[in-house]
Amino acid sequence: MNGVLLYALVGVGLFTLGLYALIVYPHLLRKILAINVMGSGVFLILVALGGRTPGTSPDPVPHAMVITGIVVAVSATALALALMLRVRAATGQARLPEEQLE
């Protein structure tokens, strides 16, 4: 109807991009960015699929869930950043240690 499927697919793409960056990069700040991008992708899917109502006004329940989700995501990001700074203070760098590939 109003580009609902398009935004849902964009959300799926964002989720996959975020997951790739989360796995590949060892730097903690990049992981935090990746998690935020994944979260944005999931929110896009939720709201896009909530816009499939027969009328003109979309389903307000996914909207409420996503607003809640955005606020929770920012507080989780703040906590994750504080943890990253603690890791940096304890080990000297903000990365996960390189693993030995066996």
Partner: protein, 112 residues
Amino acid sequence: MEAVTVDAVSMFETVTMLHWAFDAVLGFALLWLAWLALTSQDLFKAIVLFIAFGLLMALAWVRLDAPDIALAEAAIGAGLTGALLLSALARLKSKHNTRADHEKVDESEVHD
């Protein structure tokens, strides 16, 4: 009346095509900005691109008939998260990391 009806229909189709084009460009820009933000070498550039990504997300929320989410995303997702990330990056890069001096937590409790 025939010509007027046909014009109205074609105008409606043009507007719908414009909507589709806008949505397609916005969707592609979202994916591309996310990729740039996640893979750029400089962390500062990555965070700034992430803020821009948040602002484009606010546009996407408007396109999805979700103005409440657009307000929240612009203020929180782009603004506040960007400020948090930049502040953390500044603390990460500062060589005088005197956080350890201000610790009130006993280190032996943390590393058990």
